[in-house]
Symmetry: C2
DNA sequence: CTCGTGGTTCAAGCACGCTTGAGGTCAAGG
DNA sequence: CCTTGACCTCAAGCGTGCTTGAACCACGAG
């Protein structure tokens, strides 16, 4: 069984078939081969989708993920991929650090028995508030 | 200057005033004091908003964040907060691990000179695909 | 006094990421 | 044969998280 139907693929990656069709429609998945009209996926797609989900949770938009995955499809796209990747790496780092801070905050708050974030003594007076490297929403961003 | 106008607060946290009004409207920020009809925020709000952004990036919905922040407002909410926090902690951990995997994947791909994720040899054949603890969504699959 | 700036409310609109519904095809099984 | 069920397409709908627009108010500078 090196090929998967859409239902089975969906089950494997924990999504709904409709989501996979949607991904195809927006170019995040290549148009799947059809057998008797039905989509048939190579098993490798599971991997691709795992990457997609990971990137998504890390705050990438589907468009960005598509850019990352598709790079290399033509020459010059590689350049784009490197650019995007290099731009995103520090963001990703920042993001991980923040996630850890949040995790620790939640854990500490649970441990210290305080009632919430705001009130928690462990969290008092430290925040920078505005961070560099993630400027005010800079919209003209993606393609 | 221990008080901030909405514009200034927005600038400090890198958001738009409209977003802050929206947060107030959905109860994520307490209804701000008014001076001559205008919202005036204590500086501490900067911290609260930093927490909000952090949690948001970590995949919490605004409703969940509100729950986390507001817990303690009344008795019994504390129970809820603990429950939510305990439920979210492992999620947060999983999430951080995944973010790190992604980060490393991106970094490795950049380093190895491959063209993209899919093609990258460093990433070949390892994925579990479906993870436990985040089950296959299973809501009466399709029609 | 008038203007500009920056605030107010409320309703509507938008982008993203899917889901749902209508209407149809195909293949196996009772 | 005829139903069942998984799949197909296409269009419309939905939840979240804001933004935008219209219409109005308040304050300070020129």
């Amino acid at each position: 069984m090196r090929q998967l139907g859409i239902g089975e693929l969906a089950k494997r990656v924990g999504m709904r078939p409709s989501a996979l069709r949607y991904y195809e429609s927006v170019g995040l998945l290549p148009s799947a081969e059809r057998a008797a009209g039905r989509r048939v996926y190579p098993v490798a797609t599971v991997r691709r989708l795992a990457l997609v989900k990971m990137a998504q949770r890390a705050g990438f938009t589907l468009a960005e993920i598509r850019a990352l995955l598709d790079a290399g499809a033509d020459r010059g796209a590689t350049r784009q991929w490197r650019a995007l990747a290099e731009r995103k790496l520090p963001e990703l780092d920042l993001f991980i650090r923040q996630a850890q801070m949040l995790r620790d905050a939640v854990a500490d708050c649970l441990a210290c028995g305080c009632m919430n974030f705001d009130t928690c003594g462990l969290l008092a007076e430290d925040g920078p508030g505005s961070r560099p490297g993630e400027g005010p929403t800079t919209p003209g961003d993606e393609a």
